[in-house]
Symmetry: C2
Subunit: 140 residues, 2 copies
């Protein structure tokens, strides 16, 4: 039982690692990185969101997202406008939209490749299991 849990943990890590590496490498061709593209994607999903909200959406701390957003702003991919209170609202620039779109094409290809090892049914099962694992954890 013990060994099985440790193996499960390692399997999750390994899967995530492969995915991360594959995406990050491929995104270089579009001149971006996984962390940055993921941030662009999050901003695109919630235009005007605060750094705090976006940090949560991308699974990291506010500070980490803050420096990332700084790099994106320096590249003119993101615009940060002051909002209510200390809030800062994030929006994609046209250049940011372009990088996001280019990255999406790459990511779709890479992810398809990553998961092509599993037939459709199994992939669906996997998604279901992970979804349950993650949502049940949230309650906890």
């Amino acid at each position: 039982m013990h060994g099985e849990l440790q193996e499960l943990g390692r399997a999750v890590k390994q899967a995530q690692y492969r995915q991360h590496r594959a995406l990050d490498s491929a995104l270089q061709a579009v001149g971006t990185t996984l962390a940055q593209w993921d941030a662009l994607r999050a901003i695109s999903r919630s235009p005007g969101a605060s750094a705090r909200e976006l940090a949560a959406a991308t699974f990291q701390t506010e500070q980490a997202f803050g420096t990332l957003a700084g790099r994106l702003t320096a590249q003119d991919l993101v615009e940060r406008r002051p909002g209510h209170g200390r809030r800062i609202e994030h929006h994609l620039t046209p250049a940011g939209e372009q990088v996001l779109a280019a990255g999406r094409k790459v990511a779709d290809r890479v992810l398809a490749d990553c998961f092509s090892a599993l037939p459709d049914t199994d992939r669906a099962t996997l998604l279901d299991l992970l979804r349950r694992l993650n949502t049940l954890q949230e309650a906890h």
Copy 2:
């Protein structure tokens, strides 16, 4: 189809992130970190292994493992002896063994907690799917 793959990717990342956070936080109580404990575990599994081998076992680059091993050596948890060629052989010190054991107790508890959301059968299915995903990828 596209959206489903992206969601799958995010689900994997989220599961790994939770696990990482939970383990890392809990391991603080034993005075170590997830990265360091994982390195100790890898060394314990293959005593005398080179940095290169251990880097692969812990899913990272040689350089990353090198600095990690440096920190562990500084803490007297690991001993590095010169081997054949430029090879460096890694062994746990008695203190390292102790930290490893203490961490194992913590990790077992945390992992059990992490995956308790899923019933036994589902957990087994998840492990099977991940295992297949990872091994099939290796061939590729």
